[in-house]
C-alpha cells in the first residue's frame, strides 16, 4: 500500500475497532438510530471540516470557521425573524456574505503576504464581533420552513432517521471529494500545499486558488452555520466557539498532513465520525464527564501526528537511499 494511505487506513481501522468495542459494551449502539443521530448531530462540524480540509491541504489554516458559523446563524436568524425574509433568500444572502468574507481573507493572505494564521485569527475576531453586535442573545427562529425541514427525514431500516442536514453533510463530503480529487482546481490546491513557489513557476494561478480556497472554506462555514441554526432552531452569537479546532482535529485525524500537500476528504468524514463516536459513548455511559471527549480527541490527535511523522520520515529515508550510487 502507498504509505500516504496509511494514516487514512489507520483512522478507518481505529474507527471500526472503537465502534466494535462500544457495541460490545452497549449492544444498542449498533443501530441505524444511533448512526442517523451521528450524522445529524455532527452535520455542522462535518460541513465546516470539509472546508478546513481544503485549507489545510493547501498548506494554510482557517481559525475563523467557528466564528463564521456563529455569524451565519445569527445573520440567518436576524434576516428571518427581524426582516421577515424567506429562509431560502436569507440563506442565499448568508452564503454570499460568508464567501465574500473568506475571499477577503484569501486576498489578504495572497496580496499582503500575511500568514493565514494571522489573517484568519483577525477574521475570527471580526466575525464573532459582528455576530455579537447583531445580537447579544439567542434569537429563536420560529418559521414554517424550519419546522418542515426539521420534520423531514428518510426512515432507515431499523428505525433510524436520516435527517435533511445529515444528508446535506454527506452531499457536501461527496461534492468536496469530487472537487478535491477530480478537478483542476483540486490539483491546484494540492500543488499549493506541496510547494507554492514551484506551483507558481509551473503556472498554477496561485492568487485565484488561494482566494477560492478561503472563499470555499467560509462558504462551507456559512453553510454549517445555517445547518446549526436548523439544528437548534435559533441563532446565537456565541455558538460553535472553538469549533474550528474540532474541525482541524477531524481533518488531521482523517489523515491530512497539517503542513499541507497530502490529504483526503473522505478521511475527514471518518475523523468527524470518530469524534461523534466518542461523544455518543459518553452519552451511553452516562457517568463520564463530557470533557472526556476532549481528552480522547487530544490523545487521538497526538497519536495521528506521531503516526504521520513516522510514515513521512520513513518515506524520506527511502528516497535518500535511492540516491546513493549503485
Amino acid at each position: 500500500m502507498n504509505p500516504r494511505y496509511r494514516p487514512l487506513a489507520a483512522t478507518t481501522l481505529i474507527f471500526i475497532v472503537a465502534y466494535a468495542l462500544c457495541i460490545m459494551q452497549y449492544p444498542s449502539m449498533w443501530s441505524t438510530r444511533v448512526l442517523g443521530n451521528f450524522l445529524t448531530d455532527n452535520a455542522f462540524l462535518g460541513i465546516a471540516a470539509v472546508g478546513a480540509t481544503f485549507v489545510i491541504i493547501s498548506g494554510g489554516i482557517d481559525l475563523s470557521v467557528g466564528a463564521v458559523v456563529g455569524l451565519a446563524g445569527v445573520l440567518s436568524a436576524v434576516l428571518i425573524t427581524k426582516l421577515g425574509l424567506h429562509p431560502l433568500l436569507a440563506f442565499a444572502i448568508v452564503l454570499f456574505v460568508a464567501s465574500a468574507f473568506g475571499a477577503g481573507m484569501g486576498a489578504a493572505i495572497h496580496f499582503l503576504r500575511v500568514p493565514p494564521f494571522i489573517v484568519t485569527l483577525a477574521g475570527m475576531f471580526m466575525a464573532r464581533g459582528v455576530a455579537s453586535i447583531l445580537t447579544q442573545d439567542s434569537i429563536p427562529i420560529d418559521h414554517e420552513f424550519y419546522r418542515t425541514i426539521s420534520s423531514l427525514y428518510y426512515l432507515l431500516p431499523g428505525g433510524g432517521r436520516l435527517s435533511v442536514i445529515g444528508l446535506l453533510m454527506l452531499l457536501v463530503f461527496l461534492v468536496g471529494g469530487v472537487i478535491a480529487h477530480k478537478t483542476r482546481f483540486g490539483s491546484y490546491v494540492y500543488a499549493l500545499g506541496g510547494n507554492p513557489t514551484s506551483a507558481a513557476l509551473m503556472g498554477v494561478p496561485v492568487g485565484f486558488t488561494t482566494i477560492a480556497i478561503y472563499a470555499l472554506g467560509s462558504f462551507l462555514g456559512g453553510l454549517a452555520g445555517i445547518v446549526y441554526s436548523l439544528y437548534t432552531s435559533s441563532g446565537y452569537p456565541l455558538a460553535a466557539v472553538g469549533m474550528e479546532l474540532d474541525a482541524i482535529a477531524a481533518v488531521v485525524i482523517g489523515g491530512t498532513l497539517l503542513t499541507g500537500g497530502y490529504g483526503f476528504i473522505f478521511g475527514t468524514l471518518i475523523g468527524v465520525m470518530l469524534q461523534g463516536l466518542v461523544q455518543t459513548y459518553i452519552v451511553f455511559d452516562g457517568t463520564l464527564s463530557s470533557w472526556w471527549t476532549k481528552i480522547a480527541i487530544g490523545l487521538l490527535l497526538f497519536m495521528f501526528i506521531l503516526l504521520q511523522k513516522l510514515v513521512f520520515s520513513a518515506q524520506g529515508r527511502r528516497t535518500r537511499l535511492q540516491k546513493v550510487p549503485a
Binding site: R4, T183, S187, G194, N195, G203, K323, V324, A326
Partner: protein, 506 residues
C-alpha cells in the same frame, strides 16, 4: 556545425544593477539551435543573474533580448516559458507530493465538464516519458523517485512546454556518475532534435564531455565565448579565475611550514556523496589555504572538520587523540571556529546588534547558566570592535546595517572571542571592498603569528598565495594536490585545479 542563422536566442549588452552593485555589465551571449552551450563562472560571476534575466525572473536594466530575430521582453517565467524558453533548476522545482503525470500536465490536463480525465493524462505522461527512455508508474508521487528521475521529469516538462531553449542550471550537482551519463544521453538527444541547450556546471570534465561552446563570466563581465575545441583545461580555468600567470609570484610565507605541533590530522576522512577520502595535517601556527573551483568539495571538507556533517569514512585525530566530531557544538568545545561562506544565510543574525553577534558563540561555550551581563558583553564587544577596526556607529547597531567587510569582521570577532585554537574561514573576502579585503588578509597573517591554526578557503589565488603556509587543491570532491614552499604560485594552483602536469607533492 551551427552557423549564425541558427541563433535562437540572442542577448546583447545585458546590464543588471542591484542597489549600488552592478551584477552584469554589458554581457553579450547567443544560443544556437542544436548546440550545447556551457555557462561558467565562480560564485558571484553573474551566471544566475543572467539566467534569471533570460527566463523572465528579473528584468534587465539595459540591453536587448531577441528570440528568433524578434525582440522580446518578459516579466514572468511563464511568459518566457510560453515563448519557448524552459528552465530546469538545480533543486528540482516540481511538486513532490503530486503524481508524475500531475507534475507534467498540471493546469493542462485534458478535462471534460470540469473533470480531469486522469487516464488520458496518465497515457500522455507515459508517451512523453517514453521519449526519454523512462518507463515508470506515472501515478506514483514524484517524491518516491530518485533525484535523477525527478530531474528527467523536470526536463520533459520544460521541453514539452517550451521547446526552443532549454536552460539546465547545475543539473548534475546531486547525481552520481551513472545518472549523469543517462542525463547526458538525454541532453544529446534533445540537441539532435534541434533545441538550444544552456548548461551550467562547475565540473570541467562535463564541459568538455558535453558542450560545443563555452562562455565564461567573471565579476559580471563576459570574459570570453569560445568553441570548446579551441580550449584546454588550463586555459579554461585561467579564464574563470582571471589569472595572468606570468606575475604574482610572491614566494612562500616566512616561518617554518612544518614547525608547529600537529593540531589535527585526518586519515582517509570522507563522506559518501560529499567528499572523497582525504589525508591532511594541520599544525599550530600555519595557514592551510584551500583552492579549488566551486563544487570541488572545499566547503564540504570544512563542514566535515567542523562536525556539521559527520564523516562516514576515516579517522580524525586532534592533539594526537582519535576523536569523532559529531556536531558544531562539540567542535566549538574543542576550540574550533568556522566562518561560513554565505554569511547572510549562515553567519550573522542580521537583526541582532553587533554586541550580541560578537558574544553569542562565547556565551554558548560558557553555557547558559553563566550569563555574561551587559557590561561584560559591552566590554568584550568594545575590545573586538577596536582590535578589528569594525566600523560601526555603536555596538548596539543591528549587524545587517554594516557593510559586508564589517559583517565579516563581526563574525571573525565572534569566533576570536571564544579564544579558538583552530579557525576555518570559508571565502572570508567574498563581496567586500578592497580596503576591507586587505585588512582581512593582514588579520589572517596576524592570527597565524599568534599561533592559531587556520584553514582558509578562497577562490582568490593571489590572496591564497599571500598568506598560506601550504596550499591544498580540491577537484571533483577529492584532494588532488598539496603545494608547499616555492610551489605556492597562482600558476601551479591553476594547473592543479585543471588537473594538468602536477604530481601530488604530499
Amino acid at each position: 556545425m551551427a552557423t549564425a542563422e541558427d541563433v535562437v536566442l540572442e542577448a546583447r549588452g545585458i546590464t543588471k544593477i542591484f542597489g549600488n552593485h552592478t551584477a552584469l555589465k554589458g554581457v553579450d551571449i547567443s544560443f544556437r539551435r542544436g548546440e550545447v552551450h556551457a555557462l561558467l563562472g565562480e560564485n558571484g560571476a553573474g551566471k544566475s543573474t543572467l539566467i534569471k534575466i533570460l527566463t523572465g525572473a528579473y528584468t534587465p536594466d539595459g540591453g536587448t533580448i531577441e528570440l528568433e530575430g524578434q525582440p522580446v521582453s518578459f516579466t514572468t517565467p511563464q511568459q518566457a516559458q510560453a515563448l519557448g524558453i524552459g528552465t530546469v533548476y538545480q533543486e528540482v522545482n516540481l511538486l513532490p507530493n503530486m503524481t508524475v503525470s500531475d507534475n507534467l500536465f498540471i493546469g493542462r490536463q485534458p478535462s471534460a465538464f470540469g473533470m480531469v480525465n486522469r487516464s488520458a493524462t496518465d497515457a500522455m505522461a507515459r508517451t512523453v516519458l517514453a521519449q526519454y527512455g523512462l518507463d515508470i508508474d506515472v501515478r506514483a508521487e514524484l517524491s518516491t523517485y530518485s533525484v535523477a528521475i525527478q530531474q528527467i521529469v523536470a526536463i520533459a516538462r520544460a521541453v514539452e512546454l517550451s521547446g526552443k531553449v532549454l536552460i539546465l542550471d547545475e543539473p548534475t550537482a546531486s547525481l552520481d556518475r551513472h545518472e549523469v551519463e543517462k542525463l547526458f544521453e538525454i541532453i544529446r538527444t534533445l540537441k539532435a532534435r534541434g533545441l538550444a541547450i544552456v548548461f551550467i556546471t562547475h565540473f570541467l570534465d562535463q564541459v568538455f564531455e558535453l558542450s560545443d561552446r563555452v562562455t565564461v563570466l567573471r565579476n559580471g563581465f563576459r570574459v570570453g565565448s569560445e568553441p570548446v575545441s579551441a580550449l584546454d583545461r588550463t586555459g579554461l580555468v585561467r579564464m574563470m579565475l582571471g589569472k595572468d600567470l606570468v606575475h604574482h609570484n610572491n614566494g612562500p610565507v616566512d616561518g617554518e611550514p612544518d614547525g608547529g605541533d600537529v593540531l589535527m590530522s585526518v586519515r582517509q576522512l570522507g563522506l559518501t556523496g560529499s567528499v572523497l577520502p582525504l589525508d591532511l595535517e594541520i599544525r599550530k601556527g600555519e595557514v592551510v589555504g584551500v583552492a579549488g573551483l566551486l563544487g570541488s568539495g572545499r566547503t564540504e571538507m570544512a563542514r566535515l572538520m567542523f562536525g556539521i556533517d559527520v564523516a562516514d569514512n576515516g579517522a580524525l585525530h586532534i592533539d594526537g587523540e582519535s576523536r569523532v566530531v559529531r556536531s558544531a557544538r562539540e567542535a566549538v568545545s574543542l576550540g574550533f571556529g568556522f566562518c561560513p561562506e554565505d554569511r547572510k544565510a549562515d553567519g550573522i543574525f542580521g537583526d541582532l546588534s553587533v554586541r550580541e553577534n560578537i558574544v553569542i558563540a562565547m556565551q554558548a561555550r560558557l553555557g547558559w547558566f553563566r550569563a555574561l551581563n551587559r557590561d561584560e558583553q559591552l566590554e568584550i564587544a568594545g575590545n573586538f570592535i577596536e582590535a578589528l577596526d569594525i566600523r560601526t556607529a555603536s555596538a548596539e547597531l543591528p549587524v545587517k546595517l554594516l557593510s559586508g567587510g564589517n559583517q565579516q569582521k563581526v563574525i571573525l570577532a565572534r569566533w576570536l572571542a571564544t579564544d579558538p585554537r583552530f579557525l576555518i574561514l570559508d571565502e572570508p573576502t567574498r563581496g567586500i571592498d578592497v580596503g576591507a579585503h586587505a585588512e582581512i588578509v593582514r588579520m589572517i597573517s596576524r592570527l597565524r603569528e599568534d599561533g592559531l591554526a587556520l584553514v582558509v578557503i578562497s577562490s582568490e589565488l593571489d590572496e591564497i598565495v599571500s598568506y598560506s603556509s601550504r596550499v591544498v587543491v580540491m577537484r571533483d570532491r577529492a584532494l588532488v594536490a598539496e603545494l608547499r614552499g616555492a610551489d605556492i604560485t597562482p600558476s601551479r594552483i591553476v594547473q592543479a585545479i585543471a588537473g594538468q602536469g602536477v604530481e601530488n607533492v604530499a
